[in-house]
Symmetry: C2
């Protein structure tokens, strides 16, 4: 085991932890901004660092297509290539092969598919995924898996999960261990408790540096997701980090931390930045709305990001009307900073034994809605 994880404090099921990698420490609960193609969209890496993000996620599927893992390796790995000095986690490519590529053919060996960019043929299985993530120099490699769609019959979910567990074993065997680098297994089983149990048992039998909960946030809704999270994290080793993949909205994250999850990733802060949405203490707002046209106030009073420190709502409204790139740059920064402040708040609340208060306050504020128009 080559990543060390230390739990500093526990409150209920929630944990305050510290994950140590070759590229630095990640304080948990942690949110990872997504850098799909070797860049967190519309952000300089220095700016990502300034938001407080200690780790980002890279996408194996996108990077294997463009520019290719060999090229990234020649350039000294993904950290050097994209000028991000802190830890990187890469997904296995499994999820995106299923959702983005064309003409997929899945077998026990892996998945044949055509690139969504240029139609070129590729093959991705556990061994290929490990090789690519190794070449990218990812600190946290994810085991290759298949994400069962929602809804699925129990039979389908079982067969898919069982194959993912066989792939997890091959992933672990193909993973090259080295200090400060590790591999996470991914629990599947859809919304079926017995399958989640079987999956967790298989993963523990193989043994990983951390455990992800996969196959959620794919359309089942928050209620169903929380139902699964009421038991799924408990099935995974308490001493290892637990990572809920692709989640989520701020209240998804708060609910999942309460249920014992340590790590998150989501495109939401950057994607929302591109659709003029800003997350705030009082819920999300859309800066396109005419009510902001003449509003001299910041998007969120008290937020320390460059957008809220230096610009009015009127200015951002104006920028997005003119389709200026700066609107996307500033909103992406603000939104990632919002997420990182949320995580910081959760970490401090656990440390200071005031998680209940923090969560109550969070829900109360979120339900208030935006400040009154002037």
């Amino acid at each position: 085991m080559s990543l060390s994880f230390q739990i500093l404090k526990t409150v209920g099921k929630s944990r305050r932890g510290k994950l140590t990698t070759a590229h630095g420490i990640v304080n948990t609960p942690a949110f990872m901004p997504v850098g799909t193609c070797g860049t967190v969209k519309a952000m300089m890496p220095e700016s990502v660092e300034k938001t407080g993000a200690e780790i980002i996620l890279g996408n194996t599927y996108h990077l294997m297509l463009r520019p290719g893992a060999d090229l990234v390796a020649e350039m000294g790995g993904l950290h050097k290539f994209m000028n991000w000095k802190r830890p990187i986690l890469t997904d296995s490519g499994g999820f995106q092969v299923m959702s983005l590529s064309g003409l997929r053919q899945i077998s026990e060996q892996g998945v044949s598919f055509r690139s969504h960019v240029d139609g070129k043929k590729f093959f991705l299985g556990p061994e290929e995924s490990m090789d690519i993530q190794y070449k990218l120099d990812s600190n946290i490699t994810m085991a290759f898996d298949e994400c069962t769609p929602y809804p699925s019959t129990e039979k389908k979910a079982m067969l898919s999960m069982q194959r993912s567990m066989r792939w997890a074993k091959r992933s672990k065997e193909a993973f090259i261990d080295r200090p400060g680098y590790g591999i996470f297994g991914i629990q599947q089983g859809n919304v079926f408790k017995n399958l989640r149990e079987e999956s967790a048992a298989a993963l523990k039998e193989i043994g990983f540096d951390g455990y992800a909960i996969g196959g959620l946030a794919i359309g089942e809704g928050q209620e169903k997701m929380f139902e699964v999270l009421d038991y799924a994290p408990d099935m995974l080793p308490a001493s290892k980090p637990r990572y809920l993949m692709g989640v989520g909205k701020p209240d998804d994250i708060v609910g999942a931390v309460l249920r014992g999850v340590d790590m998150f990733d989501c495109v939401m802060p950057t994607r929302s930045g591109r659709t003029s949405q800003a997350f705030t203490k009082y819920g999300p707002i859309n800066i396109r709305n005419a009510r902001h046209r003449e509003d001299p106030r910041p998007i969120e009073e008290g937020c320390d990001c460059p957008l809220c420190t230096n610009y009015s709502r009127a200015y951002i409204h104006h920028l997005q009307k003119c389709k200026e790139v700066l609107a996307v740059m500033l909103l992406s920064w603000h939104n990632i900073r919002y997420y990182e402040r949320l995580m910081q708040g959760l970490r401090e609340a656990i440390e200071n034994d005031r998680l209940d208060d923090f969560v109550q306050e969070f829900y109360f504020n979120q339900s208030k809605g935006d400040i009154e128009p002037l």
Copy 2:
């Protein structure tokens, strides 16, 4: 006269000057990045400042349409609105009314037109232009003028120039003088020396804080432009800054500085950033070109911008292939920094009496072409 201009040194016709405004000093020869809609495209204002730019240009035409001068005034002026603390020069709107708007009707009073954004009707004349630039809180207001198209008959160029001179007088009369703010007149006359002379005389009679050379870089080509610049700057008062509007390519600027011009603005560095072009010591390159795909070297060895310091050509090539915003952000930064380094080089060369050497070296390097492929 409310702007002070000091000439520190002269070499041949070239001048090393210092223009003092309410928002700080501009060292000349100076290049002004263009911030059309209240933002230098794809740049944080902090980053624009880091390039060494001491002044930027804002566009009256664009800002009057969106968000409107009154709104900018309510928000505390353009500096505060866009978070740019250094000096701002605004054009008069005349040029863009002619090139962008629809259904123009020009009269002695000014120009009626329809917005290119939403077809709304507007009127812009000298008094309106002064009022807008006052509301924007522009440090350097430009007199309202008409840019005669190229080619034009001498008759047409004369009538147009003479009207521009009447407009210049009305502009000066409508301009509200205050410390650290000033107004520049604009010489017209197309490529006709006698008209340039007549225009210069009219402007000097009115009296301005600075003098622009308008009506060039509109398709006449560098040779013709330099022919005009061989005499036009000399017609303007030696003690005041001379500004060549809308110029230009790096070698246009070098040639114009040799002919006695002090200030420049151009969209080229930011626009080129959006089309994957990078300016370098050895001439422009296009990073889209396949030869950069696996090139680990910076775009320009020795350039101190974030792009050249932290990233390979291969990375920028990859970003632009994936249409990532960061490509535009980094290329815009590099290109503005390139321009600002060029201006810094010109200023130092004048100071140190080595302008001839500098210019020779510049042309020699530019003609060399890009470094050899690996």
